[in-house]
Amino acid sequence: MSSMIVISATAVPDHLRGALTRWLLEVTPELYVGTVSARVRDELWAAVTACTNDGLAVLAHPADNEQGFQLRTAGTRRREPLDFDGLTLIAFKRESQETAKPV
């Protein structure tokens, strides 16, 4: 069973970008969308994580959980999936310590 996947890759080597376009559509720079089988997805992701270097990559794909999808991340990054008793949200560090700016 193939399903839709979305890969976002930032500051990754050119050869990786080129390689990804052979499986997926690059709908906007460094954002890839396509439909592949779970096996192909896992193989692709293994290759992506190995080539990410200093950049970062995110994979989102459908999963059998309450949210309906799962996230995987690779590389050095600011944003990290955080688990809240089964619900995944994204945590990130603010560069400067901003305070709330109520509108």
Binding site: L82, F84, L89, F92, A100
Partner: protein
């Protein structure tokens, strides 16, 4: 070629901005489709320029910001150590998210805040049924019947007898599960004062039950019903919540709690697997349908048109007449 969307009209930028700030009913996920609950503690929740975010501080990673999907959540449980700004609360209310203030680990539910843009159809049904003793008894019996199976609560069975049946069943259920998991004698104890010294099964059960109360509370308030007007339970602001939650305990929380008898972290584990089961059992849609069926057994209810005007005037003869119209011209 880009296919053009045919159903939605193009919005002007200012209209679109307004719509995103205060979403219409049509833009929000239906209660049955949304994410069930999010538990937060020891965080600071505030509204920044665009969204609601929680500042999570952990020893390993320092302070991190987490944006909360307000419109996709049906219920947020706020544990101890949480502070939240009025602005953030307003956004939750606008997005139809129920906010519950709970004790540590989601045990105990102290208060709930309800969105104001709700239809009152179900509240009216509930109060009509509640104020009429015959009707109230019929619904209480229907609730027992939902738990014990069809035909168990026939018209002749008194509520007294049904209560007795329930007590025996729960006791037998505990015994059966205790034997199954080989944990000797089990006694249900709920003692918030000596919380940490309780056995894992009691901890898991209290934690899972409170999650269940939270979700049931969210479902009840999402329908616009009153959590205070119970049919079996009485005289408590959460009476109806307890009524509805009781329908699912034997099937959901009790077996789950016993299965965690050896867990090092029974509370968190209970919440996690409870969420998983929640999806398996599709609990929120089920609660909503069960409440609707209890309050409206003949199923005459039709979903409201999201475009429809929400306020009517009451008339003893015709039922309701449109509001916002000057009726002075009529004889």
């Amino acid at each position: 070629m880009t296919p053009r969307p045919t159903t939605t009209k193009p919005l002007s930028t200012s209209n679109a901005r307004r719509k995103l700030a205060a979403p219409t009913v049509a833009m929000l996920p239906r209660i049955a489709d949304s994410l069930s609950f999010l538990y937060l503690d020891i965080v600071r929740i505030h509204q920044d320029d665009t969204g609601v975010c929680a500042e999570v501080t952990t020893e390993q990673r320092g302070t991190e910001t987490v944006y909360l999907p307000t419109a996709a959540l049906s219920c947020v449980l706020l544990g101890p150590g949480t502070s939240i700004t009025a602005r953030a609360l307003t956004t939750f209310a606008r997005n139809g998210t129920t906010i519950l203030t709970t004790g540590s680990g989601g045990v105990r539910c102290y208060s709930a805040a309800v969105p104001e843009s709700l239809t009152t159809t179900w509240l009216e049904r509930q109060t009509r049924a509640w104020t009429n003793d015959t009707h109230r008894l019929a619904i209480a019996q229907a609730m027992y019947e939902l738990r014990f199976g069809n035909g168990t609560a026939t018209d002749g069975t008194t509520l007294d007898k049904l209560r007795g049946m329930e007590g025996q069943r729960v006791k037998a259920h505990y015994q059966l599960l205790a034997r199954q998991y080989k944990i000797g004698r089990f006694r249900r104890a709920y003692d918030p004062a000596s919380w940490d010294t309780q056995d894992p099964v009691n901890l898991a059960l209290s934690s899972a039950n409170t999650c269940l109360y939270g979700i049931v509370h969210a479902a009840i308030t999402a329908l616009g019903c009153s959590p205070a007007l119970g049919f079996v339970h009485n005289g408590n602001q959460q009476a109806f919540v307890y009524d509805i939650a009781d329908l699912y305990k034997a099937e959901l929380t009790i077996p789950l709690a016993f299965s965690l008898h050896a867990s090092p972290n029974p509370e968190g584990e209970a919440r996690r697997s409870f969420r998983h089961e929640l999806r398996l059992f599709q609990l929120l849609p089920r609660i909503v349908t069960d409440i609707q069926q209890l309050l409206d057994p003949s199923r005459t209810y039709e979903g409201p048109d999201p475009e429809e005007q929400m306020v009517d005037l009451w008339d003893p003869v015709t039922g309701s007449v449109p509001a916002g119209v000057n009726h002075g011209a009529q004889p």
